[in-house]
């Protein structure tokens, strides 16, 4: 989870527009690459936690949104059985998350301060933040003190230690988009 991704998500909640949210991220950006590291986490415990999602199909879907059959009509048979889906997630317990970033400190603090939960299962009470702290530092959010990548950086844009493995990773928001993936140097904790 890079800090620009987190800030972009907070801004999207406010603006309800993906492009506007990305344009408003208060972080230095060079050729599409945000100067914001991935979250650095040192877990004191690693575990897994499972969730059961109870799917309850309903028939209130707009028919225009449903894929038509070969004759152009609606499929009339649906499986409306109640279904439970089990999903397991890795769970890390850590005293702190750290990001390095180059940007507008005041705006970043304003956006982050109200955030109480981060991560995939924040709506279930995981990823709770006790408090936010802000310090100044020399790192630019892209390379660490030994030249290691602090975030996914496309191979052509990386000037640090190239002994790290090259991986296929999204390097700019929206990070869920497969089109935004490229051969990158990325931190081992991603």
């Amino acid at each position: 989870m890079t800090l620009d991704a987190l800030l972009g998500a907070i801004l999207f909640d406010e603006l309800q527009d993906v492009d506007a949210a990305h344009a408003a991220i208060p972080v230095k950006c060079t050729a599409g690459l945000f100067h914001a590291s991935a979250a650095i986490i040192e877990p004191i415990q690693k575990d897994r936690v499972a969730f059961i999602a109870a799917l309850r199909p309903q028939h209130s879907i707009d028919p225009d949104l449903i894929l038509k059959n070969k004759k152009g009509g609606l499929h009339r048979k649906f499986d409306n059985a109640f279904t439970n889906v089990l999903n397991a997630y890795p769970m890390l317990t850590a005293p702190a998350l750290t990001w390095y970033v180059e940007g507008d400190a005041d705006k970043i603090e304003r956006l982050l301060s109200p955030v109480e939960f981060v991560g995939k299962r924040r709506a279930s009470g995981f990823g709770q933040i006790r408090s936010w702290g802000f310090d100044t530092d020399e790192l630019n959010g892209i390379e660490g003190v030994f030249g290691e990548p602090l975030r996914p950086v496309p191979v052509a844009m990386f000037s640090g230690d190239t002994s790290h493995p090259v991986v296929d990773a999204a390097w700019r928001p929206a990070y869920w988009k497969a089109e935004h993936r490229a051969a990158c140097y990325a931190p081992s904790f991603i």
């Binding site: 493995p165 090259v166 296929d168 497969a178 993936r181 490229a182």
Partner: protein, 149 residues
């Protein structure tokens, strides 16, 4: 990533429309002519290794642009990793459900091998022994190599 997939795999199966994600998804989820004849079928079993030149797969389609192999997925992946030439690969395991485009990842380095499947994407370091709760593919290949009991 999607360009690599479409250039070396998808374009032999579906017409390219300039929308990489949609083209890749159609290649993975639509029906294709089979070598044995009959109705077109979706690739619903076997494996594929996408290479910069000629890709290999197990499921025998009518397309002549692939190499076809009868090796098991683990034998094929092991052979590929053991003879790695440093160029990119995509390792795919097919199943009844189509592989979502978001589960496709290119492997560039033996230290971060990605095995893509409908369920997700396994990642492992092929230069190190598998961890106890690590990737199944990693453990099976190391067993095949006689390095794991």
């Amino acid at each position: 990533m999607l360009d690599f997939f479409n250039q070396n795999f998808g374009r032999y199966l579906v017409e390219q429309t300039g929308r990489p994600a949609r083209d890749a998804q159609r290649a993975l989820s639509s029906g294709h002519k089979m070598r044995k004849g009959g109705l077109p079928q979706r690739i619903a079993s076997g494996w594929a290794i996408v290479r910069p030149e000629r890709s290999t797969m197990q499921f025998e389609l009518a397309a002549d642009d692939f190499e076809y192999s009868k090796l098991t997925r683990y034998e094929a992946f092991q052979a590929e990793l053991d003879s790695w030439d440093g160029t990119p690969r995509i390792f795919i395991e097919f199943d009844k459900k189509p592989v979502p485009v978001n589960n496709l990842f290119v492997t560039y380095d033996l230290r971060a091998v990605r095995i893509c499947s409908p369920k997700g994407c396994e990642t492992f370091d092929y230069t190190k022994p598998p961890e106890k709760d690590g990737s199944k593919t990693h453990r099976v290949i190391w067993k095949q190599r006689g390095l794991l009991k």
